[in-house]
């Protein structure tokens, strides 16, 4: 279940899908034996002078450097980092259930409710008081459930529009300020040159849909009293469905599976004139389309009429896991790791994260002019977006199944056998059924 999505480049969902399936069962919970072991964390206060060791599974590049800073400053709380590669992330639930998990792991914010429901995450509210204001509102909202706090937000994915300056210039386009402008630009571009598309539709890349849905004020889940609400086809979702359906019907989007060599070939050859995605994407674009250096620029995400909200696809959080003997120290380390200036600077500059901590937004890395983007300070747009993303999107249980159902249904939309609205209705129904089958209350 640990698959999670969009968050940092390290943790996009598609990457996990590459995971040959076999792993399948791998990460699932311990068959039969999992049941309901009581989630008590033996939180007996340890002797403060005794040296303890916390194990931490993480996947951000170069985060060992941050860990080293902590270890130097805290000789009695040694953090032992296990740098994840490949499929490790999805091993966390199995390991926790089998009692061999670490004390702390990086987990997608979207997966948090499943972690909580399966009693894998510990409420750390008692240990990290008054830290809410250290983080952007959207990021904080993803870890707080009522009075409980189940993680420390680490990174986020505010949206921006990357576009090809050369193509825009050639066809007389300016970066669209609203989605209506976007549609008009797409029509104009496609009419002038049918082999060029303003954007893409990648059915399996739910993050692109998610960020726009959040921007439109939608949410897949909600909480009402002691019940979940499922709202995959709410007004915000319908708004995006209508927008995308119009673009798709007029053949204004390049339908292509993202992240494949075919995709990068389409990007390289200039068939895709703009890409609207999260703050961690520019780095990946640079690496995968190095030839196009100097031809890209960044603009704020187009907005919906009557709103200034930005888009946000979510990130990861540091989660203290069931079975830890030292929840207090683990929570303290997590909080330090994600909000200490030196640590966050490393995560941003060498780990490629877009920080959830406000202090991270001041990281010099985010102020650097980038020749790839024509000497622009590419992150200034994302920094602004991070502060205007709605904090109304609620995560809920069964997120991974929801996104895989959505990818299947969007595949049908791409092949023309279904509309976006039908796809959303179908996913709504399957998600409600999934939650009910687990005995959860759904309104």
């Amino acid at each position: 279940m640990a698959t999670h999505p969009i968050s940092g480049p390290k943790r996009t969902v598609r990457r996990k899908k590459l995971v040959l399936g076999v792993l399948a069962i791998a990460s699932a919970t311990a068959i039969g034996l999992s049941g309901c072991t009581s989630g008590g964390s033996g939180a007996a206060a340890p002797d403060p002078n005794k040296k303890i060791t916390l194990s931490f599974w993480g996947s951000v590049p170069n985060e060992a450097k941050s860990v080293a800073i902590w270890n130097k400053a805290h000789p009695n709380i040694h953090v032992d980092l296990h740098q994840e590669t490949g499929d490790d992330g999805s091993k966390v639930p199995a390991a926790v259930d089998a009692g061999t998990g670490p004390d702390i792991a990086q987990v997608s914010q979207h997966s948090l409710p499943d972690y909580v429901i399966n009693k894998r995450a510990i409420n750390i509210a008692p240990y990290i008081k008054n830290t809410k204001n250290l983080y952007t509102p959207a990021a904080w909202s993803s870890v707080q459930f009522g009075d409980a706090i189940y993680g420390v937000p680490q990174d986020s994915g505010p949206a921006g529009l990357l576009y090809r300056t050369d193509i825009f210039k050639k066809y007389g386009l300016t970066p669209p300020a609203t989605w209506d402008d976007y549609v008009a630009d797409a029509q104009k571009l496609h009419a002038a040159n049918p082999s060029i598309y303003l954007g893409q539709f990648s059915p399996a890349e739910f993050g692109m849909y998610y960020q726009t849905m959040v921007q439109a004020g939608g949410s897949w889940y909600g909480i009402s009293g002691n019940s979940w609400k499922v709202s995959v086809n709410d007004a915000g979702n319908q708004k995006v469905a209508a927008l995308w359906q119009g673009l798709l019907d007029q053949k204004l989007l390049k339908v292509v599976q993202m992240w494949t060599p075919e995709y990068w070939k389409d990007v390289d050859s200039g068939q895709i004139a703009s890409i609207s995605y999260a703050a961690w994407f520019p780095q990946l674009l640079k690496q995968n389309a190095a030839k196009l250096s100097g031809k890209w620029a960044v603009a704020p995400e187009p907005t919906f009429a009557g709103s200034t909200a930005g888009g946000e696809s979510g990130g990861a959080a540091m989660v203290v896991l069931k079975g830890t003997k030292y929840p207090k120290q683990a929570a303290e380390f997590s909080s330090w790791f994600d909000s200490n200036k030196a640590s966050v600077d490393i995560l941003v500059s060498q780990g490629g994260l877009f920080p959830a901590a406000k202090i991270g937004l001041q990281s010099p890395t985010l102020d650097q002019a980038d020749p790839y983007f024509g000497g622009e300070k590419v992150f200034s747009v994302f920094k602004a977006a991070a502060l205007i993303s709605p904090d109304t999107a609620q995560n809920g249980p069964g997120f991974d199944k929801l996104t895989s159902d959505l990818a299947d249904q969007f595949g049908k939309v791409a092949s023309g056998s279904e509309t976006f609205a039908q796809a959303l209705d179908s996913v709504q129904a399957s998600t409600v059924a999934n939650l009910k089958s687990q005995g959860l209350s759904v309104k």
Binding site: G21, I25, I117, A407, G439
Partner: protein
């Protein structure tokens, strides 16, 4: 009467040559010989299956938001099985792999048989090259094989697609209609070699005199091959057919890798992928175990059907 003669299989039960000797001299020896295997077998095959069956009969029952309340594991009998069988996507997966198997298994085995006969024929040239060439794909891990073919299927990247396009033929290996057969191609490519080797080895044990006689009677090479050699290795063919059917039902790696290239492969495209999605993406081990056991049962039933059909045919022949 003691050993297995190709074409004249004996039943397992009465095959033992040691019958005569039973109870004399051997004593505990066979059990000592078997001990390592039996211990490992019980631990790593029987125990996991028992656990999986047990798991499939329970359900984790949550309530409310699921946050504060402890979840209970409750016995639900065959409810998970009913749920699995009522899932149209799961059932569709079986339909898909059956269709796949009906086409792919005969094609692959026919190819394997032709190559085996060529290798067995006295006058085929370049045997060594042929044997290594056909077998080589089996040496490439399935996952890597699927990756390789993925590069050859992708428009824009594939030299095959581009090459055909340049001569005016437009192909899409990943469309909703063609992708199943693109997967079948990867399986055929990977496993023809190993089947060829099994069939070839069986051919090697065929008593030479049998077709020497035919040849003297004037039967051509081709006729000898199909009227004498093939019936003689029918049991080996059955064995390869069985393994192929089992492999088909458990199809997983190839579609999972190719899924990264196209949404025409859905999450529950094959039964094994459905098991994966249920346990992995959705964390429902109980339902997933039930699905896996259904898959195991279907595999078992099909294996029995395949072998009894061929047995009957073999007897009538």
């Amino acid at each position: 009467m003691t050993q297995a003669v190709p074409g004249q299989p004996l039943r397992l039960a009465d095959r033992s040559p040691a019958r005569r000797r039973s109870g004399r001299g051997s004593g505990a020896a066979p059990w000592v010989f078997l001990a390592p295997f039996i211990v490992l077998f019980l631990m790593f095959l029987v125990a996991p299956i028992v656990v999986a069956i047990g798991t499939s009969l329970f359900k984790v029952q949550k309530s409310g938001l699921g946050f504060d309340t402890a979840s209970k594991t409750v016995f639900v009998g065959i409810q998970n099985y009913a749920t699995a069988l009522a899932d149209p996507a799961f059932i569709a997966g079986f339909g898909r792999v059956l269709l796949f198997g009906i086409v792919q298994v005969p094609v692959m085995l026919a190819l394997a048989l032709i190559f085996a006969l060529l290798l067995d024929s006295a006058r085929t040239k370049f045997k060594r090259v042929l044997r290594l060439g056909v077998f080589l794909p089996f040496a490439i891990p399935g996952v890597v094989a699927a990756l390789l073919w993925g590069f050859l299927y992708q428009p824009g990247v594939s030299p095959i697609v581009e090459g055909l396009k340049s001569i005016g033929i437009s192909v899409d290996f990943l469309s909703s209609g063609s992708v199943l057969w693109s997967i079948a191609n990867v399986s055929t490519w990977s496993y023809t070699g190993v089947n060829m080797i099994i069939l070839f080895s069986a051919l090697q044990t065929v008593p030479r005199e049998l077709f020497e006689a035919a040849r003297i009677d004037g039967a051509g090479e081709l006729r000898t091959a199909f009227s004498i050699k093939v019936p003689l290795i029918a049991p080996a063919l059955l064995l390869t057919a069985l393994f192929s059917v089992i492999g088909t039902l458990q199809l997983f790696n190839e579609p999972t890798i190719l899924k990264n290239l196209t949404t025409n492969i859905t999450t529950e495209y094959t039964p094994n992928m459905a098991v994966f999605a249920t346990t992995q993406a959705n964390g429902n081990l109980n339902l997933g175990s039930a699905m896996a056991i259904i898959l195991g049962l279907v595999t078992f039933i099909l294996s029995v059907v395949v072998s009894s059909v061929s047995n009957r045919r073999g007897r009538n022949a």
